[in-house]
Structures are given as C-alpha cells and as structure tokens.
C-alpha cells in the first residue's frame, strides 16, 4: 500500500520535473501572455494603402474645406485645408468627427413611415403620394431649407413653383439675421467684410464660438493684436464673452435696449452717419433696462464710432435661438448709423431664390412640410415648427439619422449622411462674397439610401412636374458669370465671387418700439437654454464629441442646469443636486451645477441632442431665448 503510493508519488514527481524540461510550460506561458495582450474582441485596425481625399465638411452650412486621410479608401482622420477661402485653415470640433457620421449609432438606412421602418422606396412613394394629394387638394406645401443658396434650394423652389400657394422657407440662422435685415433695407444683398472691421461688437451672438466658419473668425481673433477689438454683450459669460476683449454683461432680454442705447448716444453726440429716430432713446432708459452704468454704454458707443470701421453683429445663438425682432432691427440699425465700410454689397449666387423666414409665416397655414436633410447646426424647436402647421398637417422629412424629429414625421426618406454624397457648400450668408463649391463624397453611400437631388427629382416626377434641375446646371451658371476666383485643393475646389463694386444705400430707418418685459408672477428667475453649435441641430453630434460634454466639462451635456451659487443658496439648493425647473409653459427635471459665470437669477439649462426638445418646451414658441422660471428641489 505504502509502496504503491510511494511509486505513484515518485512517478508523479518525475513527470512533473520532466514537464519542466519540455517546451510545454514555457511555450504555453508565452502563448498565453501573447493571448492576454491581444483580446480578440478589440477591433483590428484597417490595413491598406494610405491616400488623401479632399472635400468639405457638411456638418453645418459653413462649408469648411477638409482633407481626409484614408486607408484603403476609407477616411480615418480629417485635417484642415491651409488657405481655404472659407475656413482659413481651421475646423471646429464637429468637423473632426464628421467622417464617422455614416456609422453613427442612430444612422438611418431604412425609411420611416409614422415611426415604423419601411423600405426606402416605400417611404419615397409615400412622400410622393402625400405631395400629390396636397397638389390635388390645393393645400399649402412648404419646404424648409436649412441651407438656402444651394442648387438644391433652387430645385426645391422650382418644385414648389408647380404647387400654387406653396412657400419656400428658411429657419432662423445667426449668420443670416443682421445681414438679412440690412439687405432688406438696402434692397440688395449686403454682407460683412470682417477683415476691414476695427471694432466688432456681438450682441447675444457667439461670434467666436460657432458663427459661420470657425476658422475664419477665430483666426481673426487670434491674430488681432491691437488691430481689431472684440466686444461682446451677453448676460452670461459664454465662450465668446470669455474670449472678447471686453464683455458687457447685460440683463437677459435687454439686447434691444442696449443697441438702442448705443444708437441714442451716436445720434445725440453727432456720431451717427445716417438720420435716425433713436435720438430720443435716453441713456438712462437703456441703463435701466440693461442693468449697465450709463458711462459703460457711452464708452462702448464712442469706441464703436471712434476706432474706424465697426461692425455690430446680432442673429442670436445656434441653440438658444434668434433675438427678438426689435433687437435684430436695432442691431441692424446700429450698423447703418455707424456707416461702416465693413458693411458692403455682395453678389448673389446666380441660382439663389428669395425665401420666406420661417418666423414670418402665419401660424397654422402649412398643410404639408418637406424638411430638407441638411443641417445648419442650429436648433429649431419642434414647437416653433408645429405652430406654423395647419391641423392634420403632414411632415415629410429627408434624414440620414433617426432623430426625435424624424420619429415624429409622417414619412422619413433616408438620404446620404455627411460625406456620403456629393454635396454643395456655400459661404455663410453674412460673408461679403458669395462662394459655391462641391464636397465630393468620401465614402460609399449604403444601398437604398437616396441623395437629396434624387428625392427632389422623384417628388417632381411623381407629381408630373417638370424636372427641377441638376448640380451641373449650377456649375454652368457660375461659369457663365465669368468672374470670381477658384481655390483648388486636391481633388476639390471652391469658387468665390469677386467683390461687388456697388454702394449700399439704406432706406430710412424704422422706428423701433421696445416691448416691456413681461413679468410672470411666481416665476422670479429667468431660464435660458444654452448649448453650442451642433448640440441641438437637425443631425446628431459626431460620436467623438462626447469628449467635450460627457467625458469632460468643456461643454454642457443633457439635463445640466447651471446657476450662480448665490441663486442656489437663496433657494436652498445644493451643488450637484436634482431640481425641477418650471416655467409658465412646463417643467423639467435638471441636475444642478454651480457656475459663477451665470448671472444671479438665471438658470441656464443645456439644450442637448434629443433632450433639447424637453428644454425648448419650457420656452416660448416664437422666441426661445428665455422664459420666466422657478426652481424647485426634487
């Protein structure tokens, strides 16, 4: 018994010792260690030839040039284009994630019919049917075009031409506002020559953080030295306020009073270069409404008038929306009073069509709305849109993504995502010179998914209307002009119009009456939606932008509300606590953060992607910049 056991033990020991002299343990150790260094579920990196393609970013309407580094034809990284006439060699955060948009988790490759997935051609047929019925019933059809000025826009306009009573709409955009009003007063297109300006005052508009092409204005700001001064008026200390040479912290909603106050000083002190009815607007009144000291307003007015060409920019915020009409008009009027050389005429693109601003459309009049797939990076609250629709109105949406708006549309026709189709780019509407270029696709478009011109053509065909045109036509039209210059980069190019040598003459400035701020009882605070360009737009954010809002605190993310610590203390609210924000329009749960740069009495609520709808629901539906509010612990 013991003997056997001993033998067994000896044999076992011997075998164990022998194993050490075979490669088994050592090789196994090596292989296992290699195995632990390369987990099979980590995606492999692509292999293949590295090439460079050129195109333009189509995340918003700014048209910045990009070069895409590709492996095996697939872009893996984007870079700016030096010397690009629109982007000036810069790109914003959205652009660096644009090449991943085709693979966004919310990418739509099928059509949607009342929220249910259908084949793309079924969705398109449904859209044709809706349009045909509308035509037969002579109901009002509208197209909402976020990027007017493209050939596609002209195609839409032609399509609508076959539908009597239809409207071609554009949503509010910061770049279009001030220049648009000036154009109206001058009777011809007007734009800003930022290079010429010596003082630039932005009122409630994030000029240095998502206004037009990021590169252009940021390059101007970074190289300003003593040449240009940036002034910024806004209640909160936004990025632009932080970057400006001078931040003027006005009260929420007092943009118009501030602009009129400045205008009043210009007229009173004989600095105005045009006659205006604002001399009567007293400095004291402006000071009272803005919460500023009179000498601050005085100093700003003199600085504007005294340093050479000055520009005053309004238009509002990509997220928190346009300024009220009185403010926009006062801001435009300031430019007329200053008589700045930096405000100059511009040639329109040959195929540009006049559009109706969405906010000017009478409420409840639109029966069928076709919403274009392009995004200008700005928010457009659902409520604002709904307000313009008639009862039982139908929405046809062209979209590459499954957004909240897409889920609520009657039909969604799936179209190419950014960088999947040949797209047009134009200069931001306020630029002194028009531009037009083509962004070649960087990746192949998935099967079944349409391009926008294809959809427009099929809609026209389905309603037996004439073919609405093509992008080649635009190219020919521009060549026919015989002016301007073309910037070529790689396999892409962009054409820029030449300067318009004409003069701007403005009609007499209108009298502007200030609305008294409405005070709602029991709502002692002011709620302001906040965000950054692209955060609440018609297309989702590139996935990697989570670095900015979720994985760092550079930008606010969903459900974040910021208040001044003093405000929170008065309300007995703790940092990082949950609260309910209430306005006369509704209420929403938020998570509170303290931020000393938010003015006391203000609750800044982030409008972010899908959550934005919830936030905008708290605000009014004509101007969603602010609403009377209160905060409750929850």
């Amino acid at each position: 018994m013991t003997g056997t056991r001993r033998n067994l033990l000896a044999f076992g020991g011997g075998a164990a010792a022998a194993v050490a002299f075979t490669p088994i343990p050592w090789k196994l150790l090596d292989d296992v260690s290699i195995w632990t260094q390369n987990w099979s579920w980590i995606p492999p990196v692509p292999r293949g030839e590295i090439t460079v393609k050129h195109s333009a970013c189509t995340m918003c309407g700014a048209g910045c040039g990009v070069q895409a580094h590709c492996v095996g034809g697939q872009p893996f990284g984007l870079a700016p284009v030096a010397g690009h006439p629109l982007s000036h060699g810069g790109l914003c955060a959205l652009a660096y994630g644009a090449h991943q948009m085709p693979y966004h988790a919310r990418r739509l490759r099928k059509g949607l019919s009342r929220g249910a997935e259908v084949a793309p051609d079924v969705a398109l047929a449904h859209a044709v049917e809706i349009l045909r019925d509308a035509r037969d019933a002579r109901r009002v059809v509208a197209v909402l075009d976020e990027r007017p000025g493209r050939m596609v826009s002209a195609m839409y306009a032609r399509l609508l031409g076959g539908l009597p009573g239809s409207v071609y709409l554009t949503p509010p955009a910061p770049e279009r506002a001030t220049a648009g009003i000036l154009s109206g007063w001058a009777g011809r297109p007007a734009g800003f020559d930022f290079e010429k300006a010596r003082t630039i005052l932005s009122i409630g508009t994030p000029l240095l953080d998502g206004f037009g092409a990021a590169g252009a204005l940021l390059a101007l700001w970074a190289n300003r030295e003593d040449r240009v001064r940036f002034l910024h008026a806004e209640p909160r200390q936004s990025h632009t306020a932080a970057l400006a040479d001078r931040w003027i912290a006005i009260r929420p909603g007092s943009e118009a009073a501030f602009a009129l106050g400045l205008a009043g000083v210009l007229v009173r002190d004989g600095l105005a270069k045009a006659p205006a009815p604002y001399g009567a607007f007293s400095l004291e009144e402006a000071a009272r409404r803005t919460g500023l000291r009179p000498d601050t307003i005085l100093a700003v007015a003199h600085e504007l008038a005294g340093r050479g060409p000055a520009l005053v920019i309004g238009g509002g915020d990509p997220v928190s929306g346009p300024l009220p009409r009185d403010a926009e008009q006062s801001i435009a009027a300031l430019n007329v009073l200053l008589g700045s050389e930096a405000v100059c005429p511009r040639h329109p693109l040959p195929f540009e069509r006049p559009a109706t601003p969405l906010l000017d459309v009478p409420d409840g009049t639109i029966s069928v709305l076709i919403a274009d797939a392009a995004s200008n990076g700005c928010a457009l609250p659902e409520a604002v849109l709904r307000r313009k629709l008639a009862n039982n109105a139908q929405i046809i949406r062209l979209s590459a993504f499954q957004t909240t708006a897409a889920r609520r549309a009657d039909v969604v026709v799936p179209v190419a995502a950014p960088s999947e189709a040949l797209e047009e780019v134009t200069a931001p509407a306020c630029n002194a010179r028009a531009a037009w270029g083509l962004a070649p696709p960087l990746v192949e478009r998935p099967e079944g998914v349409y391009t926008v011109p294809e959809v427009v053509a099929r809609l026209a065909e389905g309603c037996q209307m004439p073919a609405p045109g093509s992008i080649d036509e635009a190219s020919e039209a521009i060549q026919a002009l015989g002016r301007g210059s073309t910037f070529e980069f790689g396999d892409a190019s962009i054409w820029t119009d030449s300067e318009d040598s004409g003069q701007l003459e403005f009609a007499a400035l209108p009298e502007i009456r200030l609305e008294e701020p409405s005070l709602a009882d029991g709502f002692p605070l002011t709620l302001m939606p906040a965000g950054w360009r692209g955060a609440a737009a018609a297309i989702p954010l590139p996935p990697l932008t989570t670095k900015l809002y979720q994985e760092s605190e550079l930008r606010p993310g969903a459900r974040e509300a910021r208040v001044h610590p003093a405000t929170a203390r008065d309300l007995g609210l703790a940092r990082q606590s949950r609260a309910t924000a209430e306005t006369p329009y509704g209420s929403a749960a938020v998570s509170l953060r303290f931020d000393e740069s938010v003015p006391p009495g203000v609750v800044e609520v982030a409008a972010h992607e899908d959550d934005a709808a919830r936030v905008f629901a708290l605000c009014g539906d004509t101007c969603w910049r602010s609403a009377p509010a209160r905060l409750r612990r929850s």
Partner: protein, 251 residues
C-alpha cells in the same frame, strides 16, 4: 546613454501652448481622439471615467472676471518621471530618442499606480472595453492600436504621426523628418507650437524661454510649456494645489 547607440541626435519633443490664443473650441480634443483611436464615451462614462488624452479645462478668476481655457495632456515629465519610476513592470519608459514618455498598454496590468503618481491627471484608465458603433471600426486610424479594458493610456505626442513621417523620410533614404501632432494641426487659432526643445533655433525652444509650466515646483521637469500675458493666470499656474474655497466638494 551612450551617444554611439543612437542613430541621430536625440530630440526632446515639447510643446508651448499660448493660453491667450486658446478659444476652448474643443477641436483638439476630438481630433486627438480620432487620431489615437479613443472610442466614443460609454453611455455611463462621466468626466471622471472617460478618456480624454487631451482635455481642455476652463478656469475662471473671480476678481478679474477672467476666463481661460487650458489644454492639458501628458506633460512628458523629463526629470525623475513620476509614472515611469513607479510602474512595476516597465510598461512606461522615457524614449531616449524623443524624450516622449511612452506607455505600453500591452505590458500594462492595470494597477493604476502610475495614475496616482501623475500630478497632472493626464493618465486615463480604460474602465470599459472600447466599443464603436457597428461599422465605425473601419474609420480607425491604422497607425494606432486600440487599447483594451483594464489598461492605462495617455498622450504620446501622436507617435502614429511620427511613425508615418519617419516612414516617409525613410523612403527618401533619410532619417530627418518633422511631424505635427493631431492637436497642433487641429487648433484653429494655432495656440500650440510643437517641436524639438534640443534645437535652440526651433519655434518651440524660442517660445519656451518666455513661458511657464504647471506644477514646476514638484520638480518633474514637464516638457509642455504654457504662455499667457494675464497676470492672474500666471499666478494661478505657479500654485500647487487648488486654492481652497468655502464651497468645496463635488458630490
């Protein structure tokens, strides 16, 4: 280091960041993540568990109402590199040829000791396995291997780009090359200057002379320099530790 063992004069890569030019747009952060194959955030990730090899931090000065944006990445400490000395299994090294602090995710066991050693909070742990939405893995940069859950990673001055530049130079039979990290290229205001600190003629050397570094007093010899004309920012940068506020705690 024996001079004969290197092929060419060792470089000492460094950066100078002009804080007066940083606009806080965040383009560098996104470009950095794309370049280095950092995945988008896991749905549950927060600013304390996410991976931002480069992070732009907003700082404020109450007295002057000043605001600054500070891009922070691995500061590539050159003296007594804290993370390198503590790593138990040599997953961190300072490259003799470039001075870059190298992190080897394949060697890393995820003990995170280096993260406690880093005073700049510039090292990040992969709390999740990296995940990309279906199809997005085709957009990965071929020059950088994705990391896995449970390892530490950090900025290495875009070695992927350096490799590409090196290969291109090699094609012409040369060992001399220059390259630009993704953040430097992405910055629309050209706030970041990158180059060889050993070359006294380089932009980065010239600008570094009139600049400051964060946590200089800890004696770790960072190779990322900062510039600003704003006195409050310079005062803040000279501090070690945040000034205590009455209201502290973050939840």
């Amino acid at each position: 280091m024996n001079a004969e063992t290197v092929e060419r004069a060792p470089r000492r890569y460094g950066m100078v960041i002009d804080l007066d030019r940083c606009s806080g747009c965040g383009a560098c952060m996104v470009a950095c993540s794309a370049e280095n194959n950092v995945p988008p955030a896991h749905p549950q990730a927060t600013e304390r568990t996410g991976i931002t090899l480069l992070r732009v931090v907003q700082v404020k000065d109450a007295a002057s109402r000043g605001v600054a944006f500070i891009p922070m990445m691995c500061q590539q400490c050159g003296d007594d590199t804290p993370c390198m000395t503590v790593c138990p299994q040599q997953a961190v090294e300072v490259d003799k040829l470039t001075g870059v602090v190298e992190q080897m995710p394949q060697r890393c066991l995820g003990c995170r000791y280096c993260m406690t050693a880093c005073p700049f909070q510039a090292r990040f742990f992969n709390w999740w396995d990296p995940e990309w939405p279906a199809g997005m893995e085709t957009t990965l940069n071929p020059g950088a291997a994705p990391r896995m859950r449970g390892v530490v990673e950090k900025c290495d001055f875009c070695q992927s780009r350096m490799h590409a530049a090196e290969d291109k130079a090699a094609m012409e039979g040369s060992r001399e090359f220059e390259y630009t990290p993704a953040c430097v290229e992405a910055c629309p205001t050209r706030a970041i200057v990158f180059g060889d600190l050993n070359d006294p003629e380089s932009d980065v050397s010239r600008q570094a002379r009139n600049s400051f570094r964060f946590l200089e007093r800890l004696g770790t010899g960072p190779k990322v320099y900062y510039r600003s004309r704003r006195p409050w920012l310079r005062t803040l940068a000279s501090r070690v530790g945040a000034p205590p506020k009455k209201e502290n705690g973050n939840g």
